[in-house]
Symmetry: C2
Subunit: 230 residues, 2 copies
């Protein structure tokens, strides 16, 4: 895994950033909180109720630099804020913290998926095109980036897994913001942030999570993607 | 590249199959024709005009078992037929060879993409959901599979490239058909066929080609995808 990789530019040093995770009480949010804290980041788990957020932080063990707070507090006190709420709470959560997110990099990792018996998972239509584009529409004063859609919550939370094995596709229209999020992805062992296109091409990355779920089912795997020749 | 891979089942022996490629005069079709012929398959390049198809076959060099034919002839004489026409010819081509494709495995690798200056590539809306679903709707008597969307035509045609480096996502609702196409992908060195979900989840795989084009541009690469943990 040490083959040479093309790097079109140097990524910024993000080691000192505090990371907020709204919806951090769910498995994916908690898993990302755990990995970023293990990498040395101060992490704030956000939830509608501070006590629930603190419970999630406590679940991760007292040694890690993670604490819980109300969504607005977590957003205000963080440098970069990850949105990891369920799709049906996406719009309301973002509207509730619009002011606190102004000027910040907001990383949307929400996958708008539905399930039907006999059909399985499928992508839900989103008026704005994708969850990430909805976030950009709701947060005109934030720098919205889409990333971390395909990361397995199970692996993130598994203490037996030292390193992940996937590239995180990072999409956005603001180069400094995507560079920062690529660098953040690279803070987690075995993860690499790869630029994945503009925000108007986020839908298919979100929707592809349905395919990964099918792949996981067929192969009894926790599949991820690697981008070759990059 | 010899790490152990999970195989949920054995794939069939497809070494004797004749492969038809409609739209085989374009770069992607020609590239696939070249690689399948190098792997020992008899290949029929199809086009609206037999002479153009034969020219494309001749371009690949006389040593390979490739010949050109009219689309209907190529479809009728092949065991598996790959659809590699431009999106704007997709519907008309399929309607013109519906009878010849009946009962066959039809592999759609068409990416419905548009381009706008300042925006770049993006996915076009398709009434049926995706090119592959359109094919399934137009060809009720065929077994439609979606695959080979992300394969770089440049690499397929490059005589200096001995092996590809990507997994081919194979989608479909017919298990025998997807197994066959996975096995076919595996005939090309460095390629592996990975089941990628049902046909209703083909849109995002087709659309993701727009992201790969962005990635190629940013990293000056010919990017492909690998699926990890499979």
């Amino acid at each position: 895994m040490t083959e040479q990789r093309k790097s079109p530019h140097d990524l910024p040093d993000v080691s000192g950033l505090t990371i907020g995770i709204l919806g951090g009480t769910g498995d994916q949010g908690k898993g990302l909180a755990r990995r970023f804290a293990l990498a040395g980041h101060r992490v704030l788990i956000g939830s509608r109720r501070a006590e629930r957020a603190q419970e999630a932080a406590d679940d991760l063990g007292g040694d890690l630099p993670v604490r819980g707070a109300e969504n607005a507090v977590a957003a205000r006190e963080s440098d970069v804020v990850i949105i990891a709420v369920p799709w049906d709470g996406h719009r309301a959560t973002l509207e509730s913290v619009r002011a606190e997110l102004a000027g910040k990099i907001v990383v949307d990792c929400v996958n708008p998926l539905g399930f039907e018996k006999g059909k399985g998972m499928f992508a839900l239509p989103v008026e704005e095109g994708s969850a990430a584009q909805q976030a950009a529409a709701l947060l005109p004063d934030s720098r919205v980036v889409a990333a971390f859609h395909h990361v397995s919550a199970v692996l993130l939370l598994d203490p037996g897994v030292d390193a992940m094995d996937l590239d995180v596709l990072v999409l956005g229209d603001d180069r400094d913001a995507t560079d920062t999020v690529q660098a953040l992805a690279g803070r987690i062992p075995g993860m690499r942030g790869v630029y994945g296109g503009r925000l108007h091409n986020a839908h298919q990355v979100e929707a592809f999570t349905a395919n990964l779920i099918s792949i996981n089912r067929r192969y009894k795997a926790h599949a991820g993607l690697r981008v070759t020749d990059v």
